[in-house]
């Protein structure tokens, strides 16, 4: 399947995903952050209603070089044809959901800043052409 995200006026990349915990699920736009090596960062106000389960601790290095210990939570996501478990870091004071490069393992990412198109090819999909409208998904035959 070919997935389509969007590129905003600040040239940031956005990807639609559905995130679920034990109590709720929610469709969100995640900011694709190639500087984040994990899977998902969730703002606290989004994570709490979902009912995510704490699964462990990990160390994180922030942009200023500070190393900090973070709690990791388990969430499930629907993204294209994939429903999968992910580990999410929950952060108190940010607004955006961050999608990290670990979620792109095996995928092909195509960014066309001239046409403002973001295309993500799922593993096993042929012919990753830039085509289609932003913010939607389409089944490739």
């Amino acid at each position: 399947m070919i997935l389509h995200g969007s590129i905003d006026d600040k040239n940031q990349l956005w990807v639609p995903i559905e995130v679920a915990g034990d109590t709720e699920h929610r469709e969100i736009s995640a900011l694709l952050d190639t500087g984040f090596t994990g899977e998902l960062v969730l703002p606290l106000h989004i994570a709490v209603p979902l009912g995510l389960k704490l699964v462990g601790i990990s160390s994180c290095t922030l942009a200023n070089g500070l190393e900090t210990k973070q709690m990791l939570f388990s969430a499930s996501i629907n993204w294209g044809t994939q429903k999968r478990l992910v580990t999410a870091i929950v952060v108190a004071d940010i607004e955006e959901v961050l999608m990290g490069v670990s979620l792109l393992h095996g995928y092909t990412l195509l960014v066309d800043y001239q046409q403002k198109q973001l295309v993500i090819k799922e593993p096993g999909t042929d012919d990753p052409q830039i085509a289609g409208s932003a913010g939607s998904t389409e089944q490739k035959s």
């Binding site: 960062v41 601790i57 990791l72 870091i89």
Partner: protein, 103 residues
């Protein structure tokens, strides 16, 4: 007594991290020889570890044996498991370090 007992314990992230990193130090050479770049879920109590291409894969393997435990995650051979280059301040990150849990 089972590792997954029903007694409530005080859980402290720093203590748990310290014990986990001590355990990792004892197996670091072995892991880096075989699994460099992969992710590990460590349990310092049982001194067991599970390896995966992602933290979630390591977690899934660990949960098959200990469904209710907390694990310490690291990337084998890396000083920190994750980099978050879009977050600068520690104040953005969840500050509460002590809490009670059951497992």
């Amino acid at each position: 007594m089972s590792n997954e007992n029903n007694q409530e314990k005080r859980f402290n992230i720093e203590d748990f991290s310290k014990k986990s990193e001590e355990f990792y130090s004892s197996i670091k050479a072995e892991l880096e020889l075989t699994f460099k770049g992969k992710y590990a879920a460590l349990d310092p109590e049982s001194r067991r570890y599970w390896i995966g291409d992602t933290p979630t894969e390591a977690l899934t393997k660990a949960k098959e044996e200990f469904p209710n435990k907390l694990f310490y995650f690291l990337q084998v051979g890396s000083s920190a498991t994750f980099n978050i280059q879009s977050i600068i301040s520690r104040s953005h990150l969840k500050p509460k370090y002590d809490f009670a849990r059951q497992y």
